[in-house]
Amino acid sequence: MQRTSDQASDTKRWGAGALVFAALAMVGGMSNAYVISLLTIVLLFTFLGQSWNLMLGIGGQLSIGHALFVGIGAYAVAILNIKYGVTPWIGLLLGAVIAGFVGAVLAWLSFRFEVRGIYFALLTIAAAEFARIMFGGWDYVGGMQGLFYQAPSGTMDLGMLRGDARFYYFVALALAAIGVAGTELISRSYWGYVWRAMRDDDEAARALGVRTFRHKVLVVSISAATAAIGGGVLGLVQGAIFPDSIMGMAISVDVLIGPVVGGLGTAFGPLVGSMAAIPLHHAMGALGDSLGLPGLNSVAYGAVLILVVWFLPDGIWPAIVRLYGAIQLPARGRISQLRKAEE
């Protein structure tokens, strides 16, 4: 009986997800260019947020240097495409492999020598900053001047991943959908269970036979690889990449703001959080510019983070779920369900 109720809520979740993405697809068909480009960024950061969420929200490992992996992906696509005319599909694949490898090495070295928790997070910042400075001084990849894609001709070319703003909107939408569905699937897979166990209590998980060392390396590696895919597409959307923008601290923060605001460890959290935070960031940026108050957007980010951590420490999405549950069950239903739980 409990199993059937599981299945019912599964169907509900997948149905709700499908509806949300269908609605987003319709938005892509009608809205103006500004909304399209803003939502493209929102959806890309939903995907990137999922990658980060996988690592902390499910695997329990904190990264504040995800810009490293985003940058690796962006550069892999850009170098191959701009210098050698290779399709971005190959670049995305190669970037994912390289980032996955870099993530695995970083995690292996770190956890091997018992560098954990916040110290591991510091190491990820250091690695990202190291890479940013290295790419900035590397002439082959354009140094600080960066790399520029040719302006798109306007005709859609799926094989070369080139097209107009609307094309990239749908690419970003597809990625976000894959991110949400993937998180849902992974968190209910073998990996998801053991990762959540080691997130909640490493020592207890080991006592139950979970090889936490290899699983930590694995989750960091997969998170890194997926971040690189998001980074590769982000570079294409922006049309140019510079070490300071694609590998800077700001990217690492942008990546984590969605899941933290929306709900850590949840499938929908990064989408909800990105939807809330990124448009606000842009609106405040524009407002700040017109008022002659540069930096207003960063203040807004900070304010949102503080408010969410203070009032909704689990994030926005879990709060919505709780509210919905409270409305759905009439008072008597709630009590009888409590009783059922007691028995």
Binding site: Y193, D201, E203, A204, L208, G209, G265, E343
Partner: protein, 241 residues
């Protein structure tokens, strides 16, 4: 009768303290053995040495005839030795069922198989009705049972229970005793570290008594409680029954 686990001359020294001193005993398959002793006797240290959470200074632990040496806890578990913690440690953001599933992933990667095993483990300890509850909705006795269910899901040959009765009321403890008897009847070997003497008398077929890190007695519960050395360690010198 075969020994599933043999502890030979086990010693663990911490700085300034020998917590376990040259202790030897063996566990017979399908039996319940209790490790008892007054506070600070070295019971939990001994337990952690067997579970692989601590490394011995000297001595050996043999499991199914093979030497356990420098095995990390996850490897010890995968060999068939499962443990519980004295202070309950549920995975707090996972449901009761999900908690019980984790151990099953030590021998399968199939989620359905793990779920079936988890239901079976919960059934064994009488928690199946609360499978979908959150762990913070459980009472203390239920949490203790969840610890056991988690361990059972790993399909252990040997179950190590660290003070599983501590903090339970007599009626609750009686329930646990019933569970332990059932598990032993199904062929599971159990080692329990226990404080509550009455419980030990009821469940254990063999009792090992530690005092100041050394073994001072071993035998049937009725023999051990009549042993003058044991009485002295618990009640002080000069006490005679």
């Amino acid at each position: 009768m075969t020994a599933l686990l043999e502890v030979k001359n086990l010693t663990k020294a911490f700085v300034g303290l020998v917590a376990v001193n040259d202790v030897s005993f063996s566990l017979q398959a399908g039996r319940i053995t209790a490790l008892i002793g007054p506070n600070g006797a070295g019971k939990t240290t001994c337990f952690n040495l067997v579970a692989g959470a601590l490394r011995p200074t000297a001595g050996q632990v043999l499991f199914e005839g093979g030497l356990l040496e420098r095995e990390p806890p996850e490897a010890v578990c995968r060999m068939g030795i499962a443990r519980t913690f004295q202070i309950v440690r549920p995975m707090k953001d996972m449901s009761v069922l999900e908690n019980a599933m984790v151990g099953a992933f030590s021998w399968t990667t199939n989620v359905k198989e793990a779920r079936d095993k988890a239901y079976e483990s919960l059934e064994n300890v009488g928690l199946a009705g609360k499978a979908n509850a959150r762990t913070d909705q459980l009472t203390l006795p239920d949490r203790k049972m969840l610890e056991m269910a988690k361990a059972l899901s790993t399909r252990p040959k040997l179950l190590l229970l660290d003070e599983v009765m501590a903090g339970l009321r007599p009626t609750e403890a009686a329930g646990v005793v019933g569970v332990l008897h059932r598990l032993a009847e199904s062929g599971l070997t159990i080692l329990l570290v226990e404080h509550v003497m009455r419980i030990v008398m009821e469940v254990a077929s063999t009792v090992v008594v530690l005092h100041h890190g050394a073994k001072i007695a071993e035998g049937k519960p009725s023999e051990v409680v009549a042993d003058p050395a044991v009485l002295e360690s618990y009640l002080g010198a000069g006490f005679h029954a």
